[in-house]
Symmetry: C2
Subunit: 223 residues, 2 copies
DNA sequence: TGTACATCAGTGAACGCGCGTTCACTGATGTAC
DNA sequence: TGTACATCAGTGAACGCGCGTTCACTGATGTAC
């Protein structure tokens, strides 16, 4: 239909814009667009986030945006994937820390804090991931899984360590998934609780105790 | 500006359409529109739900829709409010059941099932409520609070019954909120777990045990 | 050091689309007498 | 039982808006010789 000029249009759109391979200048623009996407996400619902807005924020034109991303979601996905790696740090904490006795209780507290901090730092991105997951978007669901899976598997292994403390018909994976559910939900609704008059410190204490119990099967060390 | 004909336009739009008081026929149309909204919500993300679609499904025109609702969200809110009352049944269950010993463990199981069933029955509506809450929509947040608050308060009262079993610095409200978080999250991500290979039965068992422990402070009766 | 050329980078302006929303209108139903 | 009138109910057709997306173009940067 349209006269092909010179560049062989890449349909896969893997790395380049529309057949160009990016140089320094291009990469800078791209970063600016990503940064603006992240910033705007703090203020706007991701459904209302528009190419025009992002372009304007980055001091460029909508046409430029399309040289780097196929649409707004593509940019958000890129940000989300970069974030999903942060689950590894939590998994490492779980695997390497001591879960026995008082030290184990401290480990539980650290993990709870780890979740709260991770959500604090990436609040808007995690909100989008949760949102899209609930809506059934598989790409975001995969990111969420990737993030939480590492944590769940690490916890499952720890739970198995305490197998003798748990009833034999308890599934360690389900147990771990249950705990992760609790941690994720509390972290993402933290401000909801505060708005409702429940102090985060109190939640932290409750969750820490529950976490310790579900992992070790033992009563937490008395207050 | 425009010539006022006869009806005194109500700006509040409280009950009536545009100054008309609804009769039988009108109420039927209205019900049909609500039903269609609910049905379409099962298939479509609520963001993509359009007045035109709803009207078409109800066999009427978009103009008619606006006689009954100011916009799509208004219709959804109406559905959600009607559903929020269902929290009362769970609260009653919590308040009237026995929480001690083996009977208490059964009560915990019933409550977990109650959550799973409630979410099963109103999956799409609850999804919208969760979604909008995460996005900071206050109206939906209030509905969510209304629904979960009844449960949280009931649980808090039960937790207080077991005060001697819990450490003195434990806040019963925070403890109850923690449990409700767990229940709500698991109920809404149920299919996520199954997709991921975790059987609902296993989750149910884990959650029931955790619930029993967080409420009573005692080890659940061995399997 | 200079010139020509290829490629990268960016954009103004326009088109099309599809939804929200409204207006002026027709049709249906009820009720007073 | 019939007629007139008020009110309820519903709609076709159009307008406007704002975003997504693209095209044909100009400008910037690098590099070969």
């Amino acid at each position: 239909m349209s006269p092909v000029k010179a560049g062989k249009r890449r349909t896969d759109g893997a790395r380049a814009a529309d057949g160009r391979t990016p140089g320094n200048r291009g990469r800078a623009t791209r970063e600016r667009l990503l940064k603006c996407t992240a910033d705007l996400l703090e203020k706007t619902s991701y459904r209302d986030l528009t190419v025009i807005e992002i372009a304007r924020c980055a001091g460029t034109s909508p046409a430029t945006f399309y040289q780097y991303f196929s649409d707004v979601e593509a940019a958000i996905l890129m940000l989300a994937r970069a974030m999903a790696g942060h689950g590894a740090a939590l998994a490492t904490l779980i695997r390497e820390a001591n879960w026995k006795g008082k030290a184990g209780f401290d480990t539980a507290g650290e993990l709870v804090n780890g979740f709260l901090e991770l959500w604090e730092e990436h609040r808007s991105l995690l909100r989008v991931v949760d949102l899209a997951t609930l809506e059934g978007d598989l790409r975001f669901q995969n990111i969420r899984t990737h993030l939480l899976n590492q944590v769940t598997e690490a916890l499952r292994d720890v739970v198995e360590t305490f197998r003798s403390q748990h009833p034999s018909d308890l599934d360690p994976t389900a147990q771990a998934a249950t705990i992760v559910s609790l941690l994720a939900h509390v972290a993402s609704h933290r401000y909801g609780f505060e708005f409702w008059g429940i102090r985060t410190d109190h939640i932290r204490r409750s969750v820490t105790r529950t976490l310790y119990w579900t992992v070790t099967g033992r009563q937490p060390p008395g207050a």
